[in-house]
Symmetry: C2
Subunit: 225 residues, 2 copies
């Protein structure tokens, strides 16, 4: 937890050292097979380094997983925080009409849908959803980080759309049913593909989903289109 680790010889951040390689390899392999199903040797092989470096840098397999989760949280934050802050400023500027809030909510949902279905971030999504279904102590890293902030913003937008100043339990419930329709395409991926008769969810399918979700959201929230 508070292990500073060995001092970096090369403090160049853009450097692709063994540490970064291990984190990326861990995200890929753990995201694909799960924490318990992957050995540290498999991760080290993917990273192209010796397995002993996992203990050297992270104190063990657990520590590497924690660092991987932290890296995911940082990446999500780097992408979502600008969107979140833009919407927060928009609200602070008084631009909080039903239409504006609905459009903002759709923007957030689109970002999540893209993340959950794009191949590049698929390993992140797998790890996040595993943590949500069976939380480890690292769940806090994700939820108290970017996820929670995005969720709170969605609840706030939901309240504004419903004409409320302060969110109620109904707003949290509505937000859940909205985000549920986004998360479904990852958490129930195999069943979703079967149901739609798709091979995979590519850009074309993502657009079809997005259109339908926006339509659903408008109907649920009673926003005229």
């Amino acid at each position: 937890m508070n292990d500073p680790g060995p001092q970096k010889r090369n403090s160049n951040a853009a450097d692709s050292g063994a540490r970064e390689a291990l984190i990326h390899a861990a995200i890929e392999r753990i995201g694909h097979d799960g924490f318990d199903a992957v050995s540290i040797r498999a991760i080290a092989d993917r990273a192209g380094v010796n397995a002993a470096l996992i203990s050297y840098y992270f104190g063990g397999k657990e520590g590497l997983y924690g660092a991987a989760v932290q890296h995911i949280a940082d990446q999500i934050a780097a992408r979502q925080v600008p969107v979140v802050e833009a919407i927060e400023q928009q609200l602070a500027a008084g631009n909080d009409s039903r239409e504006a809030c609905f459009e903002a909510l759709c923007r957030v949902a689109d970002g999540f849908l893209t993340m959950l279905t794009s191949p590049e971030s698929a390993p992140w999504a797998r790890i996040i959803l595993r943590e949500q279904q069976d939380p480890t102590p690292h769940f806090e890293t994700l939820y108290e980080g970017p996820m929670g902030r995005v969720m709170r913003l969605c609840v706030l937008l939901h309240a504004r759309i419903q004409g409320r100043e302060e969110p109620t339990i109904d707003d949290r419930l509505g937000t859940a049913t909205i985000m549920a329709q986004v998360a479904f395409w990852r958490s129930n991926h195999a069943a979703a593909l079967r149901l739609l008769g798709w091979e995979s969810v590519g850009p074309d399918e993502r657009e079809i989903i997005r259109d339908r979700l926006h339509d659903n959201f408008a109907r649920i929230l009673g926003v005229p289109r």
Copy 2:
């Protein structure tokens, strides 16, 4: 796959032999920790039998998992098939008005929500959702069994509600967004609890969710309430 296994000495079905105990223990432990995270010794201890019986009865850990999945599929079928057949007969009898089909769709969704959130079937749900996110060959057992049948019925009901005779891609998409709002409470369990500020999803919370889902479904499908 085609292993008949040793002949049962006691063919009494209600008997609680080692075989049944192992299947139940496997569902509990694998549902809780995942296939790779659980050892055959842990499963055998829970079942109160020797670990060697797993190979004796099922040919190994894989075989035990397959039997567990099959047992889950059977249990689901035993509960859902009556509901499905009742609705199919209702449709065959010409009772296929918008209101009747909507009510039937809600009934199916209620059954799924109860299964996904009730403690007794929680291990089933965990295994099912793991299979959907990371399918093994046993996914077929679940989807080509009761799950697929329920899903096809939901798509058909969706089509009827929309006034169509034959389901379109739009009906399948709509069914997905509807079932998504049910599955969410299990697949994103931890995040859902955080979002709602709940400790767990008990009967009271389930009723709150159900009311909201019915409301959403009616709005999405354009059914007056």
